[in-house]
């Protein structure tokens, strides 16, 4: 029985292989999306799916979209991408950091299919990378957090120790500290992007330890619910999470992928697609700051909005010296700003954060 299935699968694969090489011709462009969580997570994957829907709406029947949810990072991701490529996808968006090597591997086997990997740093002739400068939004959150905490303890639910997450922790801490020199930050690493009960438990552990402002870099809204129950403050992550406004959610970082996705699909249609590295922030609108609610005092809100606008216009950089690394060694001199190379590979905490980054 197994043999028959294998044979059938092999036959199906070899039958569909030649079709992959050809261009899409007059048919619709097929765009595939690989998601790390369910589209109903209310956060990260939800926003990527909003991007897919925007592509579908923008191009109508000129585009065909497919997606697969909850694809584990690792070997299974290669299977999902291969399957999409075999089904004739012209462009495949792989939307989690852990898909980096699988994307590169699969892209090597399908040179005519375009791949777009989110938040990674490995590119190839048919692999682009794109990400958003979430750390710019973290600066605004950090400022509000520093002003709003009464216990002077803020907490951060971190997923995996990768540069993207570390940048967010540093940016939030720097701006919380500027707003409130007495602030301390606790970081909990949960080693998952999506595990609502664990995210809730992490939020409760922070709150039980005296934290009254919770920031999260995980994908579900579970920490929001925990914050609501405990009466502390939180921020929407990746998506607006406005169902938790005005409290506990006092603001949010919204990832707006739609313009990028539309532009990239358009490039495939026009035959102008090239491998590029895109890293946009508040200015171009890839990162949006969700409405700051009335739970935040008017002066703090005005400061936060001024900070947002200064970052957006390029007048202020979220990593501006003087800044030292955690061990006290100098990193940025007075007025110096961090270069993208350092930020992309950021693997250190800034001075003042206690605890160690796991390897």
């Amino acid at each position: 029985m197994l043999k028959i299935i294998t044979l059938a699968a092999a036959a199906a694969m070899s039958a569909s292989l030649p079709a992959v090489g050809g261009s899409h011709g007059d048919g619709p462009v097929k765009a595939g999306f690989v998601y790390v969580g369910p589209i109903g997570d209310g956060g990260w994957t939800y926003e990527h799916h909003q991007g897919l829907l925007a592509v579908q709406e923008h191009f109508g029947d000129k585009v065909e979209t497919v997606y697969q949810e909850s694809v584990p990072e690792g070997a299974d991701a290669e299977r999902a991408m291969t399957q999409m490529a075999l089904q004739g996808a012209d462009i495949i968006f792989t939307t989690s950091f852990g898909y980096m090597d699988p994307t590169i591997n699969v892209a090597a086997k399908f040179p005519d299919v375009k791949f777009e990997h989110a938040t990674g740093y490995k590119r190839a002739d048919n692999v682009s990378t794109y990400s958003a400068r979430f750390y710019e939004g973290r600066a605004v959150q950090g400022h509000i957090a520093g002003k709003m905490t009464k216990t002077n303890k803020i907490g951060y639910i971190a997923s995996f120790p990768i540069p993207e997450v570390i940048r967010g922790i540093n940016s939030a801490y720097i701006h919380a500290k500027k707003a409130n020199p007495d602030v301390e930050m606790s970081v909990i690493w949960v080693y998952t992007w999506f595990d609502p009960p664990k995210e809730a438990d992490a939020a409760k552990a922070l709150i039980d330890n005296g934290v009254d402002v919770v920031l999260q870099h995980t994908d579900s809204t579970a920490p929001q619910a925990a914050a609501a129950e405990a009466g502390v403050i939180s921020f929407g992550q990746a998506s607006d999470m406005s169902e938790y406004a005005p409290l506990p959610r006092v603001s949010s970082i919204i990832d707006n992928w739609a313009p990028y996705y539309i532009a990239r699909v358009q490039a495939v249609m026009d035959g102008t697609w090239e491998s590029v590295d895109t890293w946009d922030g508040i200015g171009p609108g890839m990162v949006e700051i969700g409405e700051i609610t009335d739970a935040v005092p008017a002066d703090v809100k005005a400061e936060a909005e001024a900070l947002r606008d200064a970052i957006g216009s390029g007048e202020y950089h979220a990593f501006t010296g003087p800044l030292n690394k955690q061990d006290g060694s100098p990193w940025l001199a007075e007025g110096e700003t961090a270069d993208d190379g350092t930020l992309v590979g950021m693997n250190f905490y800034v001075e003042g954060i206690t605890g160690e980054i796991p390897n």
């Binding site: 969580g37 690493w189 609502p196 552990a205 605890g355």
Partner: protein
């Protein structure tokens, strides 16, 4: 060791609650496996319980009704597995895996429109006088009702399997279905009842997540807890007390490690993150290390199909 800002009362209260979903699901699976059936669909039954309980609680405004609906919905799903494997004699492993996939899919379908809604609050059960005792009061006598119910179920299952006639029949069916059948006991009836019971408990565990712990509905929110429950049954060598210990160890160390991180204790995070798995497996393997006895405890007919005419 300086525990910094960790409050032991809050910690113990948190770990009792955090362990409850896994404990409930594992107790259900224990009974199912004792009857000789291997149901790998625990994850699917939990998530269906989570969504059904959430919907019922939101629509009726009553958490109690939510829990009832969760148990009922998951039991129905379990009976689907029961009919397929016991009546139509399909492969238990494949059907169980299918049940998990089916459960995850149908739950996200059922949950459309319930994302971002807050369920009615499930109040803690404050036992009069006792809950005001210092330390012990908040820990032992001010928990959510499901914590007490899950402990009552552990005692009930232990007593049922050990001391009742019907429990003896269930074990006999699990040890040797041919012999039980020859003695005139209904293998099919016993197993279907066990499967439904296991489903109901998994459903209660799922509803604990969506109504008390998280509390909200999110697709895929069980995030692998059903598989942990399955593992705990095996490592706990099919004994109710060891399963209880395993569930509390896993839930306890999970909560403890998050608290240690929050308090900034200088233990490497990698070590802390793997500690729930490491410690639970280690302890259960050590207490079950007498190989002969552990094997004697594993149901002999586990996972084997039974056909009366055979």
């Amino acid at each position: 060791m300086d525990l910094g800002s960790i409050n032991p009362v809050l910690l113990v209260a948190a770990l009792l609650l955090a362990s409850t979903p896994i404990l409930l699901a594992a107790m259900g699976e224990l009974v199912v496996e004792k009857s000789g059936v291997l149901n790998l669909g625990v994850e699917g039954m939990m998530i269906v319980g989570a969504v059904a309980g959430f919907i019922a609680a939101v629509e009726s405004g009553s958490p109690a009704l939510g829990f009832l609906a969760a148990a009922a919905a998951a039991a129905v799903l379990a009976l689907l597995f029961g009919v397929l494997t016991q009546v139509l004699l399909s492969n238990q492993v494949a059907t169980g895996l299918g049940l998990t996939l089916f459960g995850l899919g149908i739950s996200s379908l059922m949950g459309q429109g319930y994302v971002g809604i807050r369920p009615p609050a499930s109040p803690r059960l404050e036992l009069p006088v006792l809950s005001e005792l210092p330390f012990l009061g908040p820990v032992l006598f001010s928990q959510h009702a499901m914590v007490y119910l899950s402990l009552a179920i552990v005692v009930g299952v232990w007593w049922y399997l050990r001391s009742t006639r019907s429990g003896l029949i269930l074990r006999a069916v699990g040890e040797s279905h041919e012999a039980a059948h020859a003695l005139g006991y209904s293998v099919l009836g016993t197993r279907l009842a066990a499967i439904a019971f296991g489903g109901a408990l998994a459903g209660l565990g799922g509803a604990c997540l969506s109504l008390v712990i998280v509390p909200q509905w999110t697709e895929g929110m069980t995030a692998g807890r059903g598989w942990i429950a399955l593992a705990i049954v095996v490592f706990g060598s099919w004994r109710a007390w060891r399963v209880l210990l395993g569930a509390y160890l896993f839930g306890g160390v999970s909560v403890l490690q998050l608290n240690l991180q929050a308090a900034g204790i200088a233990i490497p995070v990698e070590l802390l993150s793997m500690s729930p798995y490491l410690i639970t497996i280690l302890v259960l393997v050590i207490i079950s290390s007498d190989k002969r006895r552990a094997q004697a405890n594993a149901p002999n007919s586990l996972g084997r199909t039974f056909h009366a005419s055979g």
